[in-house]
Symmetry: C2
């Protein structure tokens, strides 16, 4: 069971090396990440994009391209379609965004012919290692689904639990968060959290233990659970998965963690036939590598299922 | 200008000592806080409640009660009414919750005869000193208003800006937060944030600079503003005040800060005729003292207005 990114990378190193297909690879931050991922035996990469520009950028950063397959395609959306088709056809294991806008990238992910649709809603999972917390935390959705319905939240949980399983967390504890830990009919979020808990008890959401509504302290801090007398609940400060009311709560919390706490993190898009890596330009190189590592364990788990 | 709680406490020490009136004072954590507040010259206290129990608890914790006025009132709500009336009559400067449920305590705050109503909406302000951030952050509303309307948010800003002014921050920067930094009609929170900005530009919200919507990183981290090219905005990682979409986003962020980052914090209720201290049982003694310090600077500012 991976308790941090070092564990996760060890897990990746113990499996057959996966290959990431990069859409529009002429980007120094992305090339930096795939270079380091290769050096650390986390993943190989196929670089799809403008070959001249890829070689130019690689030369500027003293990157040796001899170990990488390069597919020349100057038009961005065509490059994305080519890159995603490699994953569709099984020639690569995961799909990564390069220098292309998010909308076009997602259009390629959802392409009916060569994309990675799976008849499930897509969601974003952000994985955090936080100083002082002895396990990985899986946050969703902090970047993709804006105002998830109850059904969307059930899908978000399923998508996220799959990532937990891939990381070796066999029965993750899932906390649908709210401002309070009790149901209040005036706060629909708490009613939905209780519904998700019931769906889990009734076997409609499986592979995990759902307990909500929970406030953030009672979800992540065992001492808070002792202090507030909630240690008899299924989750008592030991949640693995944090489900947010909406994108505002999720995104603000995500950025609070990144910009105030001591953390490592990475993130992927799930609900697709293969893991999709959609890092932001503001993510540092380490975050991109962590994201490739998460995608690799997911790809390994999907291969074995 | 107070940049941290040490500054804030120095500011308190330089003013005439204020007096806090405690409702139902027979509580060890509350007595611990008023004892330390007195020792550090932050505030005096009048203890209203069951005198026998107050003396018993004080004896157990070796607390010398000789410097404190005690008013014996065994019935909790009567004790609260007595305690709040002392503030109403100007015999004390601020009002603090002891061993009484929040609902009854707030009922005493809002009492028409002896309470602290001010014909304004009440809101909660949480003040944070965060490691790595060179100024105090004022968060609202993370505990009191559940789903504030646009008008409520304008009041929340006014209430919070008053606290900033009391702390010596003369023209605070106020960031209405969202998941994104641009207006998106599909996200009503972003539309409201832009409305608040406009109200500030039109002189309907004064004493501060409002700029929203802003994501959390662009509100608190100047490097993020450089990286994302938003340094030409009125706020570029240097916000003092963070306004949350709703109580879920606010409360989850607040507890994330407390339980994952290195912080000091304190909080008060504002919008009343005198500052109200409504700390939670889960707040540690330092948080309670910080809260008394914030209430003291507010009481000083209100005295001078």
């Amino acid at each position: 069971m991976a308790k941090g990114f070092d564990d996760l990378i060890s897990k990746v190193n113990s499996c057959s090396t996966k290959t990431v297909s990069v859409a529009v690879a002429q980007d120094s931050a992305v090339l930096e990440a795939v270079k380091e991922a290769k050096e650390k035996n986390i993943a190989n990469a196929i670089l799809v994009g403008d070959e001249d520009k890829i070689r130019e950028i690689a030369a500027e950063m003293n990157m040796d391209l001899s170990g990488f397959e390069i597919i020349d395609e100057k038009y961005n959306f065509q490059a994305a379609l080519k890159a995603v088709s490699l994953v569709h056809e099984g020639k690569a294991d995961m799909y990564m965004k390069g220098l292309i806008d998010t909308k076009s990238f997602l259009k390629s992910v959802l392409d009916k012919e060569v994309g990675l649709r799976n008849n499930r809603p897509l969601s974003h999972v952000c994985v955090f290692e936080v100083e002082g917390i002895d396990r990985l935390l899986f946050l969703s959705d902090v970047a993709f689904m804006t105002y998830p319905t109850l059904e969307d939240k059930a899908s978000i949980i399923e998508n996220t639990v799959e990532v937990c399983h891939a990381c070796g967390i066999t029965n993750p504890k899932v906390a649908p968060l709210a401002a309070v830990e009790v149901v209040n009919p005036k706060m629909p979020v708490t009613v939905e959290a209780a519904e998700l808990t019931k769906m889990n008890e009734e076997g409609k959401i499986t592979g995990c233990i759902v307990d909500g509504p929970l406030s953030m302290d009672l979800a992540i801090d065992p001492e808070a659970a002792v202090h507030k007398g909630t240690t008899d609940r299924k989750i008592a400060g030991d949640a693995d998965v944090l489900i947010f009311p909406d994108i505002h709560a999720g995104n603000i919390t995500y950025k609070t963690l990144v910009h105030t706490a001591h953390v490592k993190n990475g993130n992927i898009i799930t609900g697709t036939k293969a893991p999709v890596i959609l890092t932001s330009r503001s993510d540092d190189s380490q975050t991109k590598i962590n994201s490739i590592a998460i995608a690799s364990v997911m790809a390994e788990a999907m291969k074995n299922n």
